[in-house]
């Protein structure tokens, strides 16, 4: 059975994740699972530099470390329970039936857990940054990038002040990744009925004009109200974001990590840049 997994943590993003999940739940009519992970910090809070080992040091050390970990775990567990309860309250307030909501707490790393549950995931909802970056709103959480790279499932990245999108933009460049994203959009009920802006940006677009037209026909064929735009600009990224602002787009859909690692290293990654700079939620499709 496929479900929406919402990653909840102690950061401000949790509220937006809840709002986004509630919206996705209504569109997809799939159950929401609220996921909170107790990630182990392997690193000790204090070290004893005396460097001596005596009678039973090994046993003492084991007990001491287990005790410290135990205290930390108990606190985190309690905190996590409160967060999950709050998230459930927000979802119910947003109109999600309570039997559609479930909670899951695990002692594991986020990427590992998500990989384990990958077959069951229909949509993953995450905040842009986690607890570690509370002050810096432009930073991309280290988890987010790892997750988007490893997981081959649609990921909805909520940003501050999520509201149900009224028009969305599909960034299209004719590549394999973009075509795959196009197909996913066309088939999924998630965006059905929401006006779509199919946008191409870059240099020498005439060569891809036909592909754009085909894409438009495909979306229109399944009932989308499609507006196309060709933006002849050198700088693709800022152009796209300017378009988002000008057209009051409130969801950016794109194929993620389409290029090779080497190219990303040399030219910088489009996906990473968008994750960092977008003012509206992103839906990453792979």
């Amino acid at each position: 059975m496929s479900k929406i997994i919402a990653c909840i943590d102690g950061s401000r993003a949790a509220t937006d994740v809840c709002a986004a999940s509630a919206w996705a739940q209504r569109r997809l009519d799939a159950p929401v699972e609220l996921l909170h992970l107790l990630e182990k910090t392997d690193y000790p809070t204090e070290g004893d530099m005396s460097g001596s080992i005596g009678l039973g040091t090994h046993e003492q050390l084991l007990q001491q470390l287990a005790e410290l970990d135990g205290q930390r775990s108990r606190l985190m567990l309690e905190q996590g329970r409160l967060m999950l309860a709050e998230a459930r309250r927000q979802l119910e307030e947003a109109g999600v039936a309570s039997e559609q909501i479930s909670e899951l707490q695990r002692h594991d790393f986020l990427v590992d857990t998500l990989l384990e549950f990958e077959p069951e995931i229909r949509l993953l909802v995450m905040g842009r940054h986690g607890e570690a970056h509370a002050s810096d709103s432009k930073a991309v959480g280290s988890h987010l990038e790892n997750v988007t790279r490893t997981l081959h499932k649609p990921i909805l990245v909520a940003v501050e002040g999520f509201r149900p999108p009224e028009r969305f933009m599909l960034a299209y460049d004719g590549s394999v990744t973009a075509n795959r994203a196009l197909k996913t959009v066309a088939q999924s009920p998630l965006l059905k009925g929401i006006p779509c802006h199919l946008v191409m940006a870059g240099k020498r677009l005439e060569r891809q004009r036909e592909q754009l037209a085909n894409a438009k026909t495909m979306l229109a064929g399944v009932g989308f109200e499609v507006t196309t735009a060709e933006l002849e600009q050198e700088e693709v990224r800022t152009t796209l974001l300017e378009y988002v602002a000008a057209q009051q787009i409130d969801l950016l859909v794109m194929g993620a990590w389409g290029h090779s690692r080497i190219r990303q290293f040399l030219l910088g990654s489009m996906t990473h840049w968008m994750l960092q700079h977008s003012e509206v939620p992103l839906l990453l499709l792979r």
Binding site: K40, D42, Y43, P44, E46, G47, D48, M49, S50, G51, S52, I53, G54, L55, G56, T57, H58, E59, L61, L62, L65, A66, D69, V111, S142, N146
Partner: protein, 496 residues
Amino acid sequence: MLQKIHQEWFANIPKDLLAGSVVALALIPEAIAFSIIAGVDPAVGLYASFAIAVIVAFTGGRPGMISAATGAMALLMVTLVKEHGLEYLLAATLLTGVIQIVAGVLKLGELMRFVSRSVVTGFVNALAILIFMAQLPELTDVSWHVYAMTAAGLAIIYLFPYLPVVGRNLPSPLVCIVVLTAVAMIFEIDIRTVGDMGELPDTLPVLLWPQVPLNLETLLIILPYSVALAVVGLLESLMTANIVDDLTDTRSDRNRECRGQGIANIGAGLLGGMAGCAMIGQSIINVKSGGRGRLSTLAAGVFLIILVVFLDQWISQIPMAALVAVMIMVAIGTFSWSSLRDLKKHPMSTNIVMLATVVVVVATHNLAIGVFVGVLLAALFFANKVGQHMAITSRKEAATATRTYTVIGQVFFTSAEKFIAAFDFKEVLERVVIDLSQAHFWDITAVGSLDKVVIKFRREGVEVELIGLNAASRTIVDKQAIHDKPEQIEKFMAGH
């Protein structure tokens, strides 16, 4: 991948560096002491510790574990060095590395599951005793100064950590060495120092191919040593990895550790060092000091060589008594004291396995033989215990002169005798029914004993009928994958 690299290397930088430096300071006396055990210059042990720690930091399978020249390995080399010299030791070290890489590729690390807990405890205790015994030559036929120095050293090591503030921030073994060296130099006490034990390194190590003839004769000389070194090295490393796993609540990659240690030993051999492996005592010190990542192991190796190369004049002045004190600490810290306490609690068979491992190691100075004996004993005790899980009941129907024997439990080599003895061949019967549907026949000894029973009955003119033989003998087949599914096991254990 990137996250893993970050996690293993850079997630704990300040603590790893600090812990690495504490470990480096403790590694120096140990490397010197183990070189002396092996009968080579201290330089050999120091270069080995440097090379192994640095290479294992990258190639090992257990972040945070410290590998270097060790006592367990040094003890195996003594006769090789004595009879053939250093160059053969270096060649043996290279071969050890190759064997360990092969073991890693063949995934022999998984074989650790046959080494039971009592054998591990026995290994650890035997190692501690051997390290302690190796210090005794330094303590016999010497002046009272040496005893006084050693006692003072131990007092510093164990009492200094109780001092406020400095106690927890300065490694007490270092304080012990500095104080004793200063005392010896100031009062010009005439006792043996590290400088008297052989050459110390004053340069970085250089790549060298061992000067041995490359022929079959050389191979036959070094092969037995290399095999023993490889086995002991892997055993100690995998045991240490288990200890670090427990302490940090994380898991290690055993086969990568085997390969990684092999590469490290090849590196050590080429840089003029002796073979080494993971160290239980040092790894505990590392974890205790807050070291968790690969960086701590790398830092230990790098700090060690920097200290040794720049401070060689001072290191040669360290009195042997100070080293002896540090090594006694290592022996005490390695020994599993809880195992003595648990002797009363544990069953006798477990204690015998542990003590046998210790006794054999101390007698042979070879940890591999000790572990072999321990594993063998543990297996025998286990077979004996399981063999007791067999019972045969019988019931007679007088009208038809028929007796039905019902066999329940495990029939294999240890219980086969008991199996045969349970049948009464003297009874006069028409017919015997042997119900095997709740029995498990594990080997051909079991089948053989059943044949024997059947033939004996037939000789007495009794008609024999077997029930459920096919089901009972299914376990003889060596296809292990058949019985690893819960419903299979349930069906099987419930008596088919």
